[in-house]
C-alpha cells in the first residue's frame, strides 16, 4: 500500500545503557494497514526499541512521532509516558503478559480507561462495545472469566482486545508466537491480517524466519542495535535474512546418520507431580547415541518430566531404570546427587534460576555438581587451584565470554550462562543428557553452539532427551519425536515419518486413536 498515510515514525532513536548501545540511530516508519516484522537476534535491541516507542524507556536521542487522530499530521510523543503513547493510539502486547490474574478479562480491559476517581464504573457500556469489537475482529474470549483460568492463547487475545478497546492504530506484538502452538499461531496471523485490512498498522517482533516471511509486508532487521535492512517481504529469503541477522554466513548443523545403540534409560508407567503439571503413565525408552525429542506446548508436564529425571521430583508410580539399574527407589529419597552420579546431565529450562548460582564465580559454578569428587576437594577442603585451572580450560574450550573464571556468573549473557551449564554437564561424560528448552532465548550463534554440543554428545554415545517447543529445532536434531499433552506422552516415532502439522495437531491434543478412528 504505497499510497497509505504514515502513522508512525521513529527518527534516529539512540539508547545507551552505560557503555552499551542498545539502539544506534534507528529510523523506521509504518504506514496504515501495514504489517512490519522486526527481526533480530536476542540482544539486538528489538524490545528496547519497542519499549521506547511505548514510553517505558526514554531514548537518549531521537524522536517518536504518531499521526494525530484528527488531522493525520505526525506529532511528536512526549518521551517516557506510556499513557501518552496509549492516547496517541499505540498498543503493545508484551511477551510476558501484563494482565492481573485475579481480575476478569473485562476488568483487565477496562482498567485505566476511566477516570480513577469516578464513583461508578461504566461496565455495561464497555461490555457492549467489546462484544461488538469481538465480533468484528474475530477475537473471542469469555469476558467474565478470571484471567488465571484462561489459556495462553486466550490471554493473548485479551491483550490484543485491550489495545483495540483503546482504539489503537499501531499494534506492537513482542514475540507473539513464542508461547503458541503452530495452529494457534496460524489463527493469530489470520486475525492480524484481518485487522491490518481494516487499517491497523502492526509491528511484530520475531526471530522465527518462517513466520516473518509468511505473514509480513515488510521486514526490518536489527543487528547489535543498528538497523541493517528495511525491505519488502516479497523477494526475501530465509538464508538472506538469517545472514542479515547474524552478520555472517550461517551454517545450520545437521544430524549425521548414526545407528542407535542399546537401550539406556526406560520409564514404565511413570507418574509424578500433581495438579495441572503432573505426568501420568509415561512409557519411554532412550537408546544410546540418539536424540529423543519431546514436543509440546509449555505447561503440559514437560517441567515435571524434567524434574523427575533430574531427581527433584519423586516418582509416584511406575519405574525408572538406567542400564538395568532401578533408580525409581532412590528417587523417593529425592536426590539430585544420585542422578548426577548415575550419569545424568541436566540442562535446566530456566538457566538463570536453576542452572547457575548467580552470586558465585564461574569457576565455582563449573565445579558445583561434582564438588565432592576427588579432583575438587581433599579432606573436605576445596582445591582452589585445580578448580580454577579446569575452569580456565572450560572457558577456552566452550568459548565462554567473560572477564575470567572469578567473575560472578550472573554478569554473563544468557548464551554464556548456557555455555557454563553445557561445560559443567557435558565434561562429566554423562550417559543421559536431559536438555530442557536448551536454546530458548538464545541468539542464532549461541543456539548453533548448543546444537553442536548436543550432537557431539550423541556421537559420543550418550542418549539425549530434548524437550523443546521449537518444532524446527526438534525436527532438525531428533532421531525420534514424542508429543506430550496434558501429562501423557505419545509414542516416539522416527522424525522422517512426521511432519509439522501432525506434530502441531498432537500438541493441541488430537491423538492418533482419534485420527485413526476418523480415517476408518
Amino acid at each position: 500500500m504505497p499510497s497509505a498515510p504514515t502513522v508512525l515514525q521513529l527518527d534516529q532513536i539512540t539508547k545507551r545503557f552505560g557503555s552499551f548501545t542498545a539502539n544506534d540511530a534507528v529510523s523506521l516508519s509504518l504506514k496504515k494497514g501495514e504489517i512490519l516484522a522486526l527481526l533480530g537476534e536476542n540482544g539486538a535491541g528489538k524490545t528496547t526499541l519497542m519499549n521506547i516507542l511505548f514510553g517505558h524507556y526514554v531514548a537518549d536521542e531521537g524522536t517518536v512521532s504518531v499521526a494525530d487522530r484528527s488531522s493525520g499530521a505526525l506529532t511528536e510523543l512526549p518521551p517516557g509516558q506510556p499513557h501518552a503513547a496509549l492516547e496517541a493510539g499505540v498498543g503493545m502486547v508484551h511477551q510476558h503478559f501484563t494482565l492481573a490474574e485475579n481480575l476478569s478479562a473485562l476488568d483487565n480491559i477496562l482498567l485505566g480507561t476511566e477516570p480513577l476517581f469516578s464513583a461508578r464504573s461504566a461496565r455495561a457500556k464497555g461490555r457492549a462495545r467489546l462484544v461488538d469489537l469481538m465480533q468484528r475482529s474475530g477475537l473471542t474470549v469469555d469476558l467474565d472469566a478470571r484471567i488465571s483460568t484462561l489459556s495462553v492463547g486466550e490471554k493473548q487475545r485479551v491483550e490484543i482486545l485491550k489495545a483495540l478497546y483503546r482504539d489503537a492504530r499501531v499494534l506492537v506484538l513482542d514475540e507473539p508466537t513464542a508461547v503458541l502452538t503452530p495452529q494457534e499461531s496460524d489463527t493469530l496471523f489470520e486475525t492480524l491480517k484481518t485487522l491490518a485490512a481494516e487499517g491497523l498498522a502492526i509491528i511484530f517482533i520475531s526471530h522465527k524466519l518462517d513466520e516473518v516471511i509468511a505473514s509480513s509486508d515488510r521486514i526490518a532487521v536489527l543487528r547489535l542495535g543498528k538497523l541493517v535492512a528495511d525491505q519488502p517481504t516479497a523477494g526475501s529469503t530465509k538464508l538472506q535474512l538469517a545472514e542479515l541477522m547474524v552478520g555472517q554466513t550461517v551454517t545450520l548443523s545437521s544430524r549425521p546418520e548414526q545407528a542407535a545403540g542399546r537401550v539406556l534409560l526406560t520409564l514404565q508407567g511413570a507418574s509424578a507431580g500433581d495438579g495441572r503439571a503432573a505426568i501420568h503413565d509415561i512409557d519411554l525408552a532412550l537408546n544410546s547415541g540418539e536424540i529423543l525429542g519431546i514436543a509440546g506446548v509449555s505447561g503440559n508436564g514437560q517441567a515435571t518430566l524434567a524434574r523427575l529425571l533430574s531427581g527433584l521430583e519423586p516418582l509416584r508410580k511406575g519405574s525408572l531404570t538406567l542400564e538395568e539399574r532401578d533408580l525409581g527407589r532412590t528417587l523417593h529419597g529425592q536426590s539430585a546427587r544420585t542422578m548426577i552420579e548415575a550419569g545424568f546431565a541436566r540442562i535446566p529450562e530456566d538457566r538463570h534460576k536453576d542452572g547457575i548460582v548467580g552470586a558465585m564465580s564461574i569457576a565455582e559454578n563449573l565445579a558445583i555438581e561434582t564438588i565432592r569428587a576427588p579432583q575438587n576437594q581433599r579432606f573436605g577442603f576445596l582445591k582452589f587451584g585445580a578448580i580454577a585451572e579446569r575452569a580456565r580450560a572450560a572457558i577456552k574450550a566452550y568459548d565462554i565470554r567473560c572477564q575470567g573464571e572469578r567473575a560472578a556468573a550472573r554478569l554473563l549473557s544468557g548464551g554464556n550462562i548456557q555455555k557454563i551449564v553445557l561445560a559443567r554437564t557435558l565434561e562429566a561424560n554423562p550417559k543421559v543428557v536431559l536438555a530442557a528448552q536448551p536454546s530458548r532465548g538464545l541468539d542464532v550463534g549461541a543456539t548453533a553452539d548448543v546444537h553442536r554440543r548436543l550432537l557431539d554428545a550423541r556421537a559420543r554415545g550418550a542418549g539425549v532427551i530434548l524437550i523443546s517447543e521449537d518444532l524446527d529445532e526438534l525436527m532438525r536434531l531428533s532421531d525420534r519425536i514424542a508429543v506430550i499433552h496434558r501429562g501423557r506422552l505419545g509414542p516416539a516415532e522416527a522424525t522422517e515419518t512426521l511432519d509439522r502439522s501432525t506434530l502441531g495437531l498432537r500438541m493441541a491434543g488430537h491423538d492418533h486413536a482419534a485420527d485413526a478412528g476418523e480415517a476408518a
Binding site: P82, L99, A100, E101, L103
Partner: protein, 313 residues
C-alpha cells in the same frame, strides 16, 4: 452452665463490638495496603501514633472530630514514610515496616513525655459518648447489644462498606486490586504504579491510626504506654484470615472481639480454679487456629512484597 448465659447477655454483644472496633479500622487499613501489594508492618506504631495524636489534640483543646482528623493525619504521615521507602525505593517491606513501628511508637512516647514531664497519672479527656439512636437504641436486647456504641464504631462499620464499594465497584478499586496482582498490568494501561501504591498505603495507614484513636478517645479517656498491646499485629493476621476481603475482615474482627469479651466473662465465672492467663491466651490461640484452617487456601495478592521498578520485568 453459666457460660451459655454469657451469650444471652446484651452486655456481651456490646462488648464484642466495642473490642472489635479498633481491629476493624486496623484490618481494613492493612487490607487496603496489601491489596495494593505493600505489607505495612508499621501498623503497631501507627496505632500508637494515632492514639497519642488524637488524644493530644483533644487535650490541647481541639474538638473530638478534630482529634480524629489529627490522628488520621499522623497515620498518613507515617504511611507516607513507609510508602516512599518501599514503593519508589523498593526497600524490604518487612524492615521498613518494623522501622516505622519503632519510630512511630518511640516518637509518640517522646512527644507525650516532653509535653507532660511531671505527670504521674495520665490526664483525662472527655471521650466520645455512646450515641442514642431514637427507636433502635430502645429496642429490647438488640438496642443495648448493638445500638449503644460511640460514633467511631459506626464510622468503622461505614468504613468497611465504603472500602468494599471502592474496591469492587469503582475504577480506583480496580486499579488497586490490579496493582497488587501484577503492577505491569497497571503500567501498561497508562496508570502510575507508584501513585496508586503510595495512595493506598497512605490511606490505609490513616485508617489504622483511627483504630488507635478509638482507644484513647472512645474506649478509654487517656493515653498510656503500651496500650496498643499487639492489636496491630492481630490485624495483620486477620487480613490473611479474611483472604483480603472487607466483609470477611469485618467478620474476623468481630470474632476476635467476641472471643475477647467471652474470655473476660468466663474468667469471672470459673476463674477461681483456672488461672486467668489461660483465658487471656484464648483469643490468640483461637486466631492462630483459625489462621491454620484458612491460610492454606489464602489467595495472596501475587505482587505482595514484590517491589516494582519501571522498565524491568
Amino acid at each position: 452452665m453459666d457460660f451459655l448465659d454469657i451469650f444471652l447477655n446484651a452486655n456481651f454483644w456490646a462488648a464484642s463490638l466495642r473490642i472489635a472496633t479498633p481491629l476493624i479500622f486496623g484490618v481494613i487499613g492493612a487490607l487496603v495496603c496489601e491489596r495494593a501489594g505493600v505489607l505495612n508492618l508499621g501498623i503497631e506504631g501507627i496505632f500508637t501514633a494515632g492514639a497519642m495524636a488524637g488524644w493530644m489534640a483533644v487535650w490541647l483543646g481541639a474538638g473530638l472530630w478534630g482529634g480524629v482528623a489529627v490522628a488520621a493525619l499522623a497515620g498518613a504521615f507515617f504511611g507516607l514514610i513507609h510508602a516512599i521507602l518501599t514503593v519508589p525505593l523498593g526497600l524490604s517491606q518487612h524492615v521498613s515496616g518494623i522501622g516505622v513501628t519503632l519510630f512511630a511508637t518511640s516518637l509518640s512516647y517522646f512527644v507525650y513525655r516532653t509535653a507532660l514531664p511531671d505527670v504521674s497519672s495520665p490526664p483525662r479527656i472527655e471521650p466520645f459518648k455512646p450515641l442514642d439512636i431514637p427507636g433502635l437504641s430502645d429496642l429490647p436486647f438488640i438496642g443495648p447489644a448493638l445500638f449503644q456504641q460511640t460514633a467511631l464504631t459506626f464510622l468503622a462499620l461505614f468504613v468497611v462498606a465504603a472500602t468494599a464499594f471502592v474496591l469492587y465497584r469503582t475504577p480506583l478499586g480496580l486499579a488497586i486490586r490490579a496493582v497488587g496482582d501484577n503492577p505491569s498490568a497497571v503500567e501498561s494501561q497508562g496508570l502510575s504504579v507508584y501513585g496508586i501504591r503510595i495512595g493506598a498505603v497512605v490511606a490505609g495507614s490513616a485508617l489504622m491510626a483511627l483504630g488507635g484513636a478509638f482507644l484513647t478517645m472512645s474506649a478509654f479517656d487517656a493515653f498510656f504506654f503500651g496500650m496498643v498491646n499487639g492489636r496491630g499485629w492481630i490485624c495483620i493476621a486477620l487480613t490473611v484470615f479474611a483472604s483480603w476481603r472487607p466483609g470477611k475482615a469485618l467478620l474476623g474482627a468481630l470474632l476476635f472481639g467476641a472471643f475477647d469479651a467471652f474470655q473476660v466473662r468466663l474468667q469471672t465465672d470459673v476463674g477461681s480454679f483456672i488461672p486467668g492467663q489461660v483465658f487471656l491466651m484464648m483469643p490468640y490461640i483461637l486466631s492462630i487456629a483459625a489462621l491454620i484452617l484458612v491460610a492454606r487456601k489464602a489467595d495472596y495478592p501475587r505482587a505482595l512484597l514484590v517491589p516494582y521498578f519501571r522498565g524491568q520485568r
